[in-house]
């Protein structure tokens, strides 16, 4: 099972990084989504794999999954959701103010149009 | 006894579930394939959920009607999904299929996907701006 998880995490990471390199925002958003799956799984497996033993306390049970990474992943999921939401909205706003949807910005040495 | 019932329900569920998915692959037209999920939903999941109910109630003594809720939810939502999918397909295929599609009957009335409802078309607020 470990290998399966590792392969999944690796594939998600690779695809995520690749998509983040593209020149428009939307694929980058998808890439970040994939990356965040990878992250969540990665943090999760830091607590190792335990099958069939959810961390819900029952009298006499001694085998259970490490709950801490799960709690961390929950926090991370929520945060990355908030970030994704913000990013896509930012993409829309930028698209309608800049006139195009691009992940690139002008180089810093280019002088921008004067604005407030 | 319970074992047999549970096993039977499971097998029935498995069979119809598989048939549904198989139909999804096998049937040649999109609209035909649209029939697949209802099969998987009704007897497929239904069978399994019943099996689960019986299993937890009879075998483990933890009667639970949770599964019934899932079944109800699926029965409630699956038609809507199918309806929306069909509409989506009708909309996408509007150029090619509209001619072959039967009309609702009354003259001047078309299917909802192609025609705004009377109130809206009447006061002309439809569409943008």
């Amino acid at each position: 099972m470990e290998v399966l998880f590792a392969v999944l995490i690796g594939a998600l990471t690779a695809a995520g990084v690749y998509l983040c390199c593209l020149r428009q925002v939307f694929p980058v958003v998808l890439g970040l989504s994939l990356l965040s799956y990878a992250t969540n799984l990665f943090v999760f497996v830091a607590g190792r794999l335990t099958l069939g033993a959810p961390p819900i306390w029952e009298e006499g049970v001694t085998r259970f999954a490490d709950p801490l990474p799960q709690a961390l992943v929950l926090t991370a999921i929520v945060i990355s959701f908030g970030m994704t939401a913000l990013l896509v909205v930012l993409a829309i706003r930028a698209r309608f103010e800049a006139g195009a949807e691009r992940s690139d910005a002008p180089a810093v040495t280019e002088r921008p149009e004067v604005e407030r | 006894m319970a074992d047999v019932l549970i096993a039977l329900l499971l097998l029935v569920g498995a069979f119809f579930g598989l048939v549904g998915s198989w139909g999804l692959v096998r049937l040649p037209q999109t609209m035909q394939r649209l029939h697949a999920p209802t099969k998987a939903t009704t007897l497929g999941v239904g069978g399994v959920l019943l099996a689960s109910m019986v299993y937890f109630g009879w075998v483990r003594g933890e009667w639970s009607i949770h599964e019934l809720l899932i079944t109800l939810f699926l029965f409630l939502t699956a038609p809507v999904s199918a309806f929306m999918l069909a509409r989506a397909w009708l909309h996408r295929e509007r150029g090619r299929r509209r001619a072959t599609l039967p009309r609702p009957g009354a003259s001047g009335v078309d299917w909802g996907v192609y025609q705004p409802p009377p109130e809206e078309s009447g006061n002309g607020v439809e569409a943008r701006r």
Partner: protein, 172 residues
Amino acid sequence: MSVRARLRRWLPHPALSLLLTLTWVALQNEFAAAQWLMGAILGVAIPQLLRPFWPDPPPVRSWRAVLAYAAVVLWDIAKANVQVAGWVLLRRPETLRSTWLVVPLKLRIPEAITLLAGTITMTPGTVSCDLAADGSALLVHCLHTDDAAATVAEIKTRYEARLVRIFGEGEA
């Protein structure tokens, strides 16, 4: 304010309230008094809160008709499942005669129309696909039928007629 009006105000949908209470208890899987109480509270509170979202649910005229309808539909589902499984597994797909059916509607109550459309979809072999712009007919896709008119007639008699009985429609 009359008792009935007061009751109506607190329990806009008594059946719904009951169902919610049952749902709660079912969810808890625990039949203690506390759960019934909690269920009852929710049964009152949630419809109150959501009153504007379901402004005037049609009253059910006959609960017996509902049961009968349910039985018919469940039986039809089982029957149709077997039938359709046979088509899917045994027939060559090219030989399926799929057609569009137009089911003219007598029903006018949205809930009833929805129920009919849902029933049609849930019985394998037919899927309700669209509603006429004025709500006068239902578009149904049939996976395989030899006699379209017969299928339409069956839908109307087996389901629509029963729904008319449940919701007391027909005068509209």
